[in-house]
């Protein structure tokens, strides 16, 4: 019996470990994406609505960081970017949003990650030819598709809608609607 116990225990232990290795692997694959992330994005930024008549689409880019909540599919992110909209005439709009947002990842187990996000923050707005600046509150909502490409790198596409709220200022007739689209590259750290 002693001989059997000693013989079988390593075999059973090895079997358990082999099974557990695959279980560990599954958990690690998810874990990499759930690690804190930092990255950047780049793509066309479009003014919509009334300001879209005054200034034109341009290229913009930004950076962001993300942290995962204890609940695996919920993340918290901070995002910032620089967007400059010019026109053929003298009008120009420069916009630097800084906002926090909450991301919800669709909990389906496929290699591609879909994330919905919503958030709020502030934006620095500068207009020409008036040469005036202001910090305005902003609200955003968006959608992301990400492809984890290994343990470290993720590649994604984003589409965000940002609303610049100026209604609390006396004399304001409308807010700003801006669409950010682009590709992003970010790293799990």
């Amino acid at each position: 019996m002693n001989f059997n116990k000693r013989f079988y225990i390593p075999i059973i232990a090895a079997a358990v470990m082999i099974c557990q290795v695959s279980a560990f692997a599954y958990k690690e694959r998810k874990d990499y994406f759930a690690k804190p992330q930092i990255g950047g994005w780049f793509g066309p930024v479009t003014p919509l609505g009334l300001i879209g008549k005054k200034v034109e689409t341009n290229l913009g880019g930004g950076i962001f960081v993300r942290f995962t909540f204890p609940y695996q599919f919920l993340k918290f992110g901070i995002d910032s970017s620089y967007q400059q909209f010019k026109s053929k005439g003298v009008n120009e709009l420069q916009f630097i949003p800084v906002y926090g947002n909450v991301l919800f990842q669709l909990p389906i187990d496929i290699p591609v990650r879909f994330q919905f996000k919503a958030g709020a923050g502030v934006g620095w707005v500068y207009i020409k030819p008036d040469k005036l600046t202001n910090w305005d509150p902003i609200f955003m909502a968006g959608f992301e598709v990400s492809f984890p490409a290994g343990r470290l790198v993720n590649i994604g596409l984003r589409i965000d809608y940002i609303y610049i709220y100026e209604g609390y200022i006396k004399g304001s007739k409308n807010g700003g609607h801006i669409l950010n689209t682009g590709v992003q590259l970010y790293f799990n750290i």
Binding site: P36, L50, I51, K53, K54, V55, F67, T68, F69, P70, F76, I78, S87, K88, G89, V90, N91, L93, V98, Y99, G100, A120, G121, V122, V125, Y126, I127, K128, P129, D130, K131, L132, T133, N134, W135, D136, P137, I164, E166, Y168, I169, K170, G171, S172, K173, N174, G175, G176
Partner: protein, 492 residues
């Protein structure tokens, strides 16, 4: 990363974001709504086609035919509308019939720019705009209201001039006369406006230079219409654009109304000889001689600005017998800048000598013979004028001096000629009270013309009589003349 550390970090970041939003909300008090500013225009551009800034003279283009059968042209048409540059197809004695009066004026502007004091250009109206105006008093362009243009705002600055890039200016009623067995046979001339073919003629191509430009080296590259440089003559000689005011109006006037004349040039296109009659602006300032195609120097413009709500007016009575123009110019300015020294400054220039016909490639024998005949005629005319009236080449010491001096003084008068920024027309037969509207605060000298305006002609020196109690000071609450009268500026 374990849960508690994350919680602390998340709480701190959320607090930071909330604080920033709250701060921005409070800092927003007293701020301007930038996105609304981006869309609102504080600068309005109004263009008018009249000599007057408000209350213009009604259209008085003479009827072209002397009777309903149109067997001959009317005397008024031949004397006032037909320019003396028409020598081939004159229309005297019922010859060369077929001309019609113009009914529309078309304008094609590529863009407009403002020039600041540091000479940088601002593309504040970077869109092509086309306009078509009927030559009648219902048209806002001609009845004193004006037409608004498309534009963006500019930074608050001092702007001495506006540049208007005029692509085309057309008038309809152009006729081509071709010699045929039964006399001159007329047909319409067609041109393109706003990408459509219309029976019209683009005379802007001949406004690029004037005869005077052709005498100088600068004429090789000078372009009077693209861009058309219009100084903004405000009380302070420049326009200070301040964004504190809700609106500022920039008024640009082209002298078109009652200033349209008929010109002629010969055309040898397509191997067929024809004489073209077309309508353009009167050559009251820069006379156009026969056999000349350039009509530049006759596009008279003036620009001024005012801020609605911060303007006054000048009102009074014209107690004289004749219909007149009443003008207001900055106090102590020389009125001779607004009048001509003679009916034709060019013809009074002793050194206005004939020009040799240019070398052209004739496409037919008759064209070549015409050129030879013109060259001979030029020699005869030249010998008649030189040296009896212009010391040109007879004295080697003075050679060229008199020529340069005479043309310099011609240029001094024609290039320095100005349209008054404020002018109204008054006909005492209708009502003898006049109002000059939208007057920026300042001191003005008022003048009234001693004679009624003649169609197509500018006023001459001495034809303006000064108001006896100048200067008239205008404020936003009223006006006062030099002796304290604040109710009516009357011309006895």
């Amino acid at each position: 990363m374990n849960g508690s550390k994350f919680n602390i970090l998340a709480q701190r970041v959320l607090a930071l974001i909330t604080a920033t939003i709250t701060m921005s909300l409070f800092s927003g008090c007293g701020n301007k709504p930038l996105l609304t500013e981006l869309e609102t225009n504080k600068l309005l551009i109004i263009i008018k086609g009249t000599y007057e800034s408000n209350s213009p003279q009604p259209w008085s283009l003479p009827a072209i035919c002397s009777d309903s059968a149109c067997s001959s042209y009317s005397a008024d048409h031949l004397n006032l509308v037909r320019d003396d540059n028409i020598k081939i197809c004159t229309g005297d004695n019922g010859t060369c019939l077929g001309d019609v009066n113009p009914t529309a004026f078309m304008l094609d502007i590529a863009e407009m720019k403002l020039v600041s004091k540091s000479l940088s250009h601002f593309k504040f109206s970077n869109n092509r705009q086309t306009f078509a105006f009927s030559l009648n008093d219902a048209e806002p362009f001609f009845n004193g209201f004006g037409t608004m243009m498309d534009n963006d705002d500019v930074p608050a600055d001092v702007y001495p001039a506006v540049l208007v890039y005029v692509r085309k200016m057309l008038m309809d009623g152009a006729i081509k006369f071709v010699p045929s067995g039964s006399g001159w046979s007329p047909s319409s001339v067609w041109d393109t406006f706003a990408e459509k073919a219309l029976p019209s003629f683009n005379f802007n191509q001949y406004q690029v230079s004037s005869h005077y430009d052709k005498l100088r080296l600068e004429g090789l590259y000078l372009n009077r219409v693209y861009p058309l440089i219009i100084p903004i003559r405000d009380y302070m000689e420049s326009w200070v654009f301040n964004k504190k005011f809700p609106y500022t109006v920039l008024e640009i006037r082209f002298v078109v109304k009652n200033f349209v004349k008929k010109y002629e040039y010969e055309n040898y296109e397509n191997n067929s000889y024809g004489v073209i009659h077309y309508y353009a602006f009167s050559d009251s300032l820069s006379d156009v001689d026969n056999d000349e195609t350039v009509i530049g120097g006759n596009l008279l413009t003036v620009a001024r600005t005012y801020t609605p709500g911060f303007v006054g007016e000048i009102r009074g009575a014209n107690n004289r017998a004749n219909a007149a123009h009443i003008i207001a110019i900055p106090a102590n300015e020389d009125p001779k800048k607004y009048t001509l020294s003679s009916a034709s400054v060019r013809k009074s220039n002793n050194c206005n000598i004939p020009q040799m016909p240019g070398e052209t490639y004739a496409s037919s024998i008759s064209h070549q013979l015409d050129i030879k005949l013109r060259t001979e005629k030029f020699k005869v005319d030249w010998n008649k004028k030189v040296p009896s009236s212009c010391m040109y080449l007879d004295n080697i010491d003075n050679a060229g001096k008199a020529y340069v001096q005479n043309w310099d003084s011609y240029a001094g008068e024609t290039e320095g000629f100005m349209i008054p920024t404020l002018a109204v027309f008054n006909n005492p037969a209708v009502s003898n009270s006049y109002i000059i509207e939208n007057v920026s605060p300042g001191s003005y000298d008022l003048y009234i013309s001693s004679v009624a305006p003649t169609y197509g002609q500018l006023y001459k020196d001495g034809e303006f009589i000064k108001y006896q109690y100048c200067p008239v000071t205008v404020t936003t609450t009223g006006f006062t003349d030099a002796i304290g009268n604040s109710s009516s500026i009357d011309f006895p």
